[in-house]
Amino acid sequence: MEKFTLHTGVAAPMDRANVDTDAIIPKQFLKSIRRTGFGPYLFDAWRYLDEGQPEMDCTNRPRNPDFILNQPRYRDASVLVARKNFGCGSSREHAPWALLEGGFRVVIAPSYGDIFFNNSFKSGLLPIVLAEAEVDRLLHDIQAFPGFRLTIDLERQLVIWPDQSKSLPFEVDAFRKYCLMNGLDDIGLTMRHADKIRDFEQARRLSQPWLFPLELN
């Protein structure tokens, strides 16, 4: 996982609520057994006018001119600002993978689907929660000022406006912050507790042996 400390990038607006993970990466792409290759199909059904298929070359596919991320000013966007309940629905981690490969490192929204929120941290995508009024203001500013760039300082937990005119604090769990800032694989961190897990498991094996029936066979 790539480390995340400080990030500055063009912000793109996605002015809708309940953007589900089916919209972020449609199901036909989930047949892949790889962890990469999803970027070109990010928001596929919205981005293109034809129906996307896995492994398709997207260079010459007809683009939907009405889709906001197709506007040249958002081509290099790396911060996505959306409305509430972003990433609801399916547990597919392919959604944060596709966003990362599509160039995004940060999503800002008033709320998220719980599983997407969790998956994002595991993949190195930072989901930030800001109040609805602040998101309103951001969506307005992004559209009013072409090239609007935000800086996200994870260490200080701040979202900073282009000219430093304004900054907003955000919350993040200490453990998730630590993992993200250090690009840590949390399996390695959990394995520090391997002995505790083993002891717990052994006690469980004795107290609730019916949970281990396959071992009795």
Binding site: R16, K31, I33, E93, E201
Partner: protein, 482 residues
Amino acid sequence: MSATIASPTENSVMHQQTLYDKLWNQHVVHVEDDGTTVLYIDRQLLHEVTTPQAFEGLKLSGRKVWRLSANVATVDHSIPTTPPSEGIADPIARLQVETLDKNVREWGIKQYFEWGDPRQGIVHVISPEQGSTLPGMTLVCGDSHTSTHGALGALAFGIGTSEVEHALATQTLLARKMKNMLVQVDGVLPAGITAKDLVLAIIGRIGTAGGTGYAIEYAGSAIRALSMEGRMTLCNMTIEAGARTGMVAVDEQTLNYIKGRPFAPKGEMWDQAVAYWKTLVSDPGAKFDRVVQMNAADIKPQVTWGTSPEMVLSIEDRVPDPDKEKDSTRREGMERALKYMGLQPNTPITDIRVDKVFIGSCTNSRIEDMRAAAAVVRGRKKAANVKVAMVVPGSGLVKAQAEREGLHKIFLEAGFEWREPGCSMCLGMNPDRLEVGERSASTSNRNFEGRQGTGGRTHLVSPAMAAAAGIAGHFVDIRHWK
């Protein structure tokens, strides 16, 4: 007294706990300073879509599977619903299924219900069926509808692929405790009203983000009266209310359902398990952060009209008019949904005609669902405007049971298709899907844009309502079906 089982005595000395509190506390291995918890996982279910990258990750990092016997695998999402002997035409889907076959073999996963095994089926149907879901367990799967298993008094939730790998490698997950929500439903569901209508009504009431950050417990006389299949339908769609996990306390019905299933404890161990399982109820007076109360008698047949499960109405209603919505984000969402769905405001729901009918999915593919649909279809014919009406049992065992009861003949005689088990048109990863502009009456769980096929239009309903739409060619009020 073991450290891992809190006896009722211990509980009463401690503060009053909810069912979720009990299940959570039972599985805490370690807590970090900020509350991040190493939570022990008893059971992991594996399927072909969300595991290949997890096994690859294990291999790349040189790690092992912590406890092989904790894992149960099957194929469901990418397989066609035609007989396995005909194979998988799509080479990408075939590779995904073969990759699971290979991983199961190479890593030595012991329980694998592979394609063609009579016990294969949708992961959330077969695990309870096999007794591999038990009360008091933590159970995870790389699928958001894992909440289904909470119907048996388990703590069950969907995870992403990184967490699948984490659970394989450590038999734990890093998690944070959620808040408690109680959805209390009292009274009696009217005739023809099912768990599906109830859960859609709950989602309509609290919204698709209403449960975000919560674990939901369903309680009340209407929940007690639901069959285990009904409770599974209810818990299944908890994720559509925004909550990762939903659950129902253990009662006699839970125990009767589990008894005698292949992985269920037997003999003396059964008695020992039952004694513990009976403690898996919220203590009287336990505190919930939010309580939602519903009256079962008020629930009418539900039909979704839009592109989010919260866009739901009763069969008596009309398609909503965005002009009457004051909130601009909501209004724009409604306008977008109506455009996508090809619907005009104020159209009676009963005037909406359907092109396809899908009866299946982890929400509604159990034997009770098959029976409910067959009862509506019996002796009738599919409407001429309905191109396909597809019935997809949730597992090989559901299929066999339905066939013993002759249900397949009822469907076939009516012009419905009777398929092999799998996720099928719920998400259209296989060849079963909607074409652009086609409209379905579907017993599945999501009506998102493109969910059942690019450009497809989904209306979520109960099995009886879907079956009736297949016969009438449009939505009808099942309460008046004769």
